[in-house]
Amino acid sequence: MEDKKEELAKTSGDNDPRIIAFVCNWCTYSGADLAGTSRMKYADNVRVIKLPCSGRIDPMFIVEAFKKGAKGVLISGCHPGDCHYISGNYHSRRKYAIFRNLLGFLGVDLNRVEFSWVSASEGNKWVHIINEFTDKIKSLKNGSNDIFKK
C-alpha cells in the first residue's frame, strides 16, 4: 500500500481532476450519446468505460481507477426497474452499499464515488451529473486529495 501512496502523490492537481465513469451500455451510455447529439457542453474531465450493465461493475475496478490516479469515480446505470437486464442494477445497488463499506475500509474517500441513474433520454441529467461531480471533486479539500487516506 505504501508505494501506491507514493505514486498517487505525483498525480495531477485539483483543478484538472481525472474522473472515470463506469456506465451501462443501454441507458447511461445512450444518455451520454444524447447529450452529444444535442451538443450540450460539459466538463471534459470524464472518461467513460462502457460495460454491459451496472451489475458488471466490480468494486475492484474502482480501486484500480483510484490507484491509477483518478480523483473521482462515477457509476451509472439504468433506473431501478428499467434495467435492460431485469435486475442487474438492483444487484449493483445492493452491492454498492456493501462496497461503499469496502472502499471506506480501503481508505477511499467516499465523497469521490458517485452512483446515479441516467436513462437514454436523460442527456441533460448526464451533463448535470458530470458538471456537479466535477465541481465537487474540485472543491474537495487538499486533505482528502490523498485518495487512500492514512
Partner: protein, 660 residues
C-alpha cells in the same frame, strides 16, 4: 503479437472541427502494437469502409479501432466490413470521439487529449479481444401451452394455425377457463359461451393441437429450443377414446348432493363422475375419486360402469406421465378470486345473499343454476334491489391486495346493466371509490349503465352489512354528498378482486421464470418486452401476468403466439456471443454466480474422467439463456466466470491506459 489498425474519422468537421485528428492519428501510431494509423474524412462512407478493408487485408490486422462516432451508430457497419476480410467482428472496437468529445467540448487542445485517451483505451482493449462466435441453438418446433383459458386457447390456435404443433395442458376436465363461466361480456355484451364454445371446439379438432385435459405439467428442464417436459395425465377413470359423452354415467351417479360444483362457484351440486358444464371440451367426464362411493366405500357402487354402453369406465386407471420435448412454452394459468371470507363485516358465507361477482355471473347465465333467471340463493326470490360493492379485496393493503383488479369496475357496470335488463323495475346501487373504465368504449359503457339503465352510483365504501327481516342492510357512505347511506337490499354482489391462480408460484418455480410477490408472472420488460418471461423461450399470456380483461388476454395470447412463430421461423436460435463463460479449471462450485443470475442461465455440470468417474462439479453457462449482463462475474470470488467482450483483463487494461 497484436497488429492493430487505428482509423481516425473526421466526420467532416463534426469531429475534425474540435479534435486535432492528425494528432490523434500520430499518438496512435506511437502505441506498441499499432501497425497502421490513418485518418479519413468519412469512415462510414463506402470509400471509408473500403480503405478499412484494404488495410485489414494489407497489414494483416488482428484488431481494429475506429475513433469515430458512437458505437450505437456504426459499430455494426464496421464489424460487417471486418467480416468480409475474414476478421472476427468482435475484434472491432469504437472509440467514441464524437458524442463524447467533439460535440460536448469546446477547447480543442483538451478535447484532442481526451480523444487520444479514448482511442488508447480501445487499443488496449482490442489487444485483449478474443474471437467470439455467436451461439446457435437448435429449435425443437413444438410448443407447450399451460392453461386452457381464453388466453391459452388464443395462443394455441394462433400457433397451430401458423403450422406449429401445440400441446395444450389444462388441469381441469375441460378447457374454457373463467371466460366460459361468464354470462355476457363487456363491453359489447356478447354471450360468452357463444363466442367461446366455437374456439374450444376448434382447439379440440385442430390437427396441430394435442389437448391434455385433467393434466398437469410436473417437470420442465432444458432451455429455449429444447425444453424437456413431463405431463401428468391424472387418472380420469374414463377411457377417453371410447367415451361418447352420452351422459348415462353422470345421470345415474347417486353422489349428487353435497359435492359443490366448481363451475357454478358452489351455487349448485355436481355428481362424482361429471363434466363441469354441458358444453365441456372434450365432452368426456372425469371421475372424482375423492367423493366417489366406489373409492370411498370399497367398490360398493358401480352404477356408472353399469350404465356406460361402451364400458369405458375403468376404476383401475392410473396417473400417466407423458414426456415431450418442446422449443417454447406459454404460461397462461389465469386467476382466482380473493377470498371473500376475509370480510367479516360483509357477512360473506354467513348471509347467503351476499355473493361474489363470479357467482353473480352464474346466476345471470342461461347455463347457470337458475337458468338465467336472477334469483337469490337464500329463498329463490327475484331480487328487486341489489347493492354492488366494488374494490372488495383490491386496493386494500390491510386485508387484501394493494393493486387494482382492473376488471371489476367493468363487470360491476355489466352486472348492474344485465340486472336492469332482466328484472324490470329493479334498482341497483353501486358503491365505488373510483371508476376505472379505460379501454375503447368502456367509459361509454359505464355511463350507459347509469344513464340508460338507471343504476345509482355512490362514491364510497361500505362498512357493514346486516341482515334484518329478510333484507340486507348495507351501511355505506357517499363521500360526495358527505353522508352515511343505509340501503335495504335483497342481494349484495361483491366485486371481488383477482389474484393469480393458486399454485402459479409453483408453476413459475418449475419453469424458472420470475414472479412478483403476489404470484403474477413478471415480464422481461414491462413496456418493451411484455410477452417475454425472464427466461428465453418462455412466454406469458392472460391474467397469469396481472389483472386484465378478455380483449387484453386475447391480445397477449396472440402476442405470445407471434413471438413463438417468429422464433420458429428460423431453424436455429441465434444469440450474440457476448455471454458468460466459465473456466472449469478454477471453478470451485460455490454457485454464488447462480444466485445472482436473473436468467437462470447457470447450472451445475459434472466433470468426469475417462473412466466416467465424477471428478468435480463446475458451473456451466447455458448459452440459450445467458444474456451477458455480467452480474455473475462480480459474484465469483475465484475469478472463474467472465463475460466475453467485457473480460476483466480488458477493463483493467482500459483503466490502466488512463493512468495519469
Amino acid at each position: 503479437m497484436s497488429r492493430i489498425g487505428v482509423f481516425v474519422c473526421w466526420c467532416g468537421s463534426n469531429i475534425a472541427g474540435t479534435v486535432d485528428v492528425e494528432k490523434v492519428r500520430d499518438e496512435a501510431s506511437k502505441i506498441p502494437g499499432v501497425v497502421s494509423a490513418v485518418d479519413y474524412k468519412y469512415m462510414c462512407s463506402d470509400p471509408g469502409q473500403n480503405s478499412l478493408r484494404n488495410v485489414i487485408k494489407e497489414k494483416n490486422l488482428t484488431g481494429v479501432v475506429l475513433a469515430a462516432c458512437s458505437p450505437h451508430m456504426h459499430e455494426n457497419t464496421f464489424r460487417k466490413a471486418a467480416i468480409k476480410e475474414g476478421l472476427n467482428p468482435y475484434f472491432v472496437e469504437i472509440a467514441n470521439i464524437r458524442e463524447q468529445v467533439s460535440w460536448v467540448h469546446d477547447d480543442k487542445e483538451r478535447a484532442t487529449s481526451k480523444a487520444v485517451d479514448l482511442m488508447t483505451m480501445m487499443v488496449e482493449k482490442v489487444k485483449r479481444d478474443r474471437s467470439i462466435d455467436d451461439v446457435k441453438v437448435p429449435l425443437h418446433k413444438k410448443t407447450l401451452v399451460i392453461g386452457g383459458g381464453i388466453s391459452g386457447i388464443q395462443a394455441a390456435l394462433d400457433i397451430a394455425n401458423g403450422g406449429v404443433e401445440v400441446l395444450l395442458v389444462e388441469k381441469e376436465p375441460s378447457i374454457g377457463g373463467r371466460m366460459i363461466q361468464l354470462d355476457e361480456t363487456f363491453p359489447t355484451l356478447d354471450c360468452s359461451s357463444c363466442i367461446m364454445t366455437p374456439k374450444m371446439v376448434e382447439v379440440n379438432q385442430h390437427p396441430n393441437i394435442k389437448l391434455y385435459t385433467y393434466s398437469e405439467v410436473t417437470d420442465v428442464s432444458g432451455y429455449i429450443g429444447n425444453f424437456k417436459i413431463k405431463i401428468k395425465k391424472k387418472a380420469r377413470s374414463v377411457v377417453e377414446k371410447d367415451c361418447t359423452g352420452c351422459g348415462n354415467c353422470w345421470n345415474v351417479c347417486p353422489m349428487h348432493k353435497n359435492v359443490k360444483s366448481e363451475f357454478n362457484v358452489n351455487l349448485s351440486e355436481r355428481t362424482a363422475i361429471y363434466v363441469p358444464f354441458p358444453q365441456a371440451v372434450p365432452l368426456i367426464p372425469a371421475l372424482d375419486r375423492a367423493v366417489c362411493l366406489h373409492f370411498k366405500k370399497g367398490g360398493k357402487c358401480v352404477k356408472c360402469y353399469e350404465a356406460c354402453g361402451p364400458k369405458c369406465i375403468d376404476f383401475n386407471l392410473q396417473d400417466e406421465i407423458v414426456e415431450e420435448t418442446v422449443g417454447a412454452i406459454v404460461a397462461a394459468t389465469g386467476y382466482d378470486l380473493i377470498e371473500n371470507s376475509l370480510y367479516g363485516e360483509y357477512g360473506y358465507g354467513k348471509y347467503k345473499d351476499v355473493v361474489s361477482g363470479l357467482q353473480f355471473e352464474r346466476l345471470l347465465s342461461a347455463s347457470g343454476p337458475t337458468e338465467g333467471l336472477v334469483k337469490r340463493p337464500s329463498d329463490g326470490a327475484t331480487p328487486k334491489t341489489i347493492v354492488f360493492i366494488q374494490c372488495v379485496g383490491s386496493r386494500d393493503p390491510e386485508k387484501g391486495v394493494p393493486y387494482c383488479s382492473k376488471v371489476c369496475c367493468m363487470y360491476t357496470a355489466k352486472h348492474a346493466k344485465l340486472f336492469a335488463h332482466k328484472v324490470h323495475g329493479s334498482q341497483s346501487y353501486v358503491f365505488y371509490i373510483d371508476i376505472r373504465a379505460t379501454s375503447k368504449g368502456y367509459e361509454e359503457f359505464v355511463r350507459g349503465t347509469m344513464e340508460q339503465d338507471g343504476a345509482i352510483y355512490l362514491r364510497g365504501r361500505v362498512s357493514r352489512i346486516y341482515e334484518d327481516e329478510g333484507k340486507l342492510i348495507i351501511k355505506g357512505a357517499d363521500t360526495l354528498s358527505g353522508n352515511q347511506v343505509e340501503i335495504a337490499a335483497d342481494m349484495v354482489v361483491l366485486a371481488t378482486g383477482v389474484i393469480p391462480k393458486k399454485g402459479s408460484d409453483k408453476v413459475a418455480q418449475m419453469l424458472g421464470i420470475s414472479y412478483d410477490k403476489y404470484g403474477f408472472y413478471t415480464e422481461s420488460h414491462p413496456k418493451l418486452r411484455p410477452t417475454e418471461s425472464s427466461t428465453a423461450g418462455i412466454f406469458l399470456a392472460g391474467m397469469a401476468q396481472g389483472p386484465r380483461d378478455i380483449p387484453e388476454s386475447v391480445v397477449s395470447g396472440s402476442a405470445a403466439a407471434s413471438k413463438i412463430l417468429g422464433l420458429f421461423s428460423k431453424d436455429e436460435y441465434e444469440v450474440e456471443g457476448t455471454i458468460a463463460s466459465v473456466n472449469e479449471a478454477t471453478c470451485v462450485a460455490c454457485f454464488y454466480c447462480r444466485r445472482v443470475c436473473a436468467y437462470n442461465a447457470i447450472s451445475g455440470k459434472d466433470i468426469k474422467d475417462r473412466s466416467g468417474k465424477l471428478i468435480k462439479v463446475v458451473a456451466n453457462v447455458n448459452p440459450g439463456l445467458c444474456v451477458g449482463c455480467g452480474a455473475c462475474v462480480n459474484a465469483c470470488f475465484s475469478k472463474t466466470i467472465d463475460v466475453k467482450g467485457f473480460m476483466d483483463d480488458q477493463i483493467y487494461a482500459e483503466i490502466r491506459s488512463l493512468s495519469v
